[in-house]
């Protein structure tokens, strides 16, 4: 078993109304960022996961997304990053 650091991004699906993204967009425009053409607001979820290897960790992350982390009606998900954890598991060397 190894520890992996995973980052999962959950974003509103294309075409799905995103009121938070719209509000941020308006705020950016009000600050003078006229180049901001569109904003979509999502969330990042960081998971520390124990798994056999990277493939197993990715498969588990996919399953977590399908079951809980994203709602397929309104959201897309993507496993953005995976890295072997350098954080100790507490105790030992």
């Amino acid at each position: 078993m190894s520890l992996f650091q995973l980052e999962i991004r959950v974003t509103p699906r294309p075409g799905v109304l995103d009121p938070e993204g719209q509000a941020i967009h308006h705020a950016l425009r009000a600050l003078g960022y006229e180049g901001a053409q569109g904003v979509r607001f999502g969330k990042a979820i960081h998971i520390e996961l124990a798994a056999e290897d990277e493939d197993a960790a990715l498969a588990t992350a996919e399953e977590m997304c399908r079951k809980l982390l994203a709602n397929p009606v309104t959201e897309d998900y993507r496993v953005e990053g995976i890295a072997k954890s350098t954080v100790g598991t507490g105790g030992g060397e």
């Binding site: 799905v16 109304l17 709602n71 309104t74």
Partner: protein, 232 residues
């Protein structure tokens, strides 16, 4: 008739539901979310509130509470299930109703009375109302913006499964009468088999003249004054 009122950590309309059931002569009992058995309930009710603080998505975590297996089985076997507000969100997350409830268009928590039109009076939840009757009920939510893909919306509309719709005082489903941005002003829907209803407005808070409206009573009268055997 016996009604199981499911309480999740963060539910806050469970007592309102309990009282509403009592007001029409039903026998309510609370069922804690960790229970796996609904007892001999004739009906199951999922109350409003903020189960698990609405973390991740409203209803997303409550949907995996131990009691939800029993609720799903109860629904699949034809038992009547009512989800109000957070209860509606949980039913969508659990896949017992289609679609999802996302952040209000305004981004604001909307807490005020609205008017909803009764679109169907041939359901076991609404037969006490008149067709097209306009009800005054409170809403209190930040995630009530009903969304589904186009095919699902077309099917809901085509099959007459939109039971409540936000309207103005004249009964017109205008954009201004829509408090949260829901597609087609949808305020409540029913499943294919007609035994699972989810709605964002709070009929259980419209039971007393003192509280401004008694228009919610019809829903509970519908559920509790007809013998189970004659349900449609």
């Amino acid at each position: 008739m016996k009604a199981a009122v499911v309480t999740f950590p963060g539910s806050n309309c469970d007592y309102d539901l309990y009282k509403a059931v009592q007001a029409v002569g039903g026998e309510p009992s609370f069922v804690w979310h960790r229970e796996t058995d609904l007892g001999d309930a004739d009906l199951v009710m999922l109350p409003g509130g903020f189960s698990y603080g609405d973390y991740l998505r409203a209803g997303a975590i409550a949907r995996f509470s131990p009691v939800m297996d029993a609720v799903t089985e109860f629904a699949r076997s034809g038992g009547p299930v009512l989800g109000i507000c957070n209860g509606f969100q949980i039913l969508c997350e659990a896949g017992l109703l289609p679609g999802a409830l996302i952040r209000n268009r305004s981004l604001l928590f909307q807490s005020h009375d609205v008017r909803v039109r009764v679109e169907r009076t041939d359901t076991l939840f609404t037969f006490d109302y008149q067709p097209g009757q306009v009800l005054r009920t409170p809403i209190a939510h930040a995630e009530g913006n009903f969304r589904a893909d186009e095919d699902t919306i077309a099917r809901l509309e085509g099959e007459g499964r939109v039971v409540f719709r936000y309207v103005d005082a004249q009964g017109r489903a205008t954009p201004d009468a829509n408090p949260n941005g829901s597609v087609e002003n949808i305020a409540g829907i029913i499943n294919e088999t007609g035994n699972v209803l989810g709605m964002m407005p709070h009929p259980e808070r419209a039971m007393e003249p003192l509280l401004g409206s008694t228009d919610g009573k019809g829903l509970f009268m519908s559920l509790f004054t007809r013998p189970a055997a004659s349900l449609p």
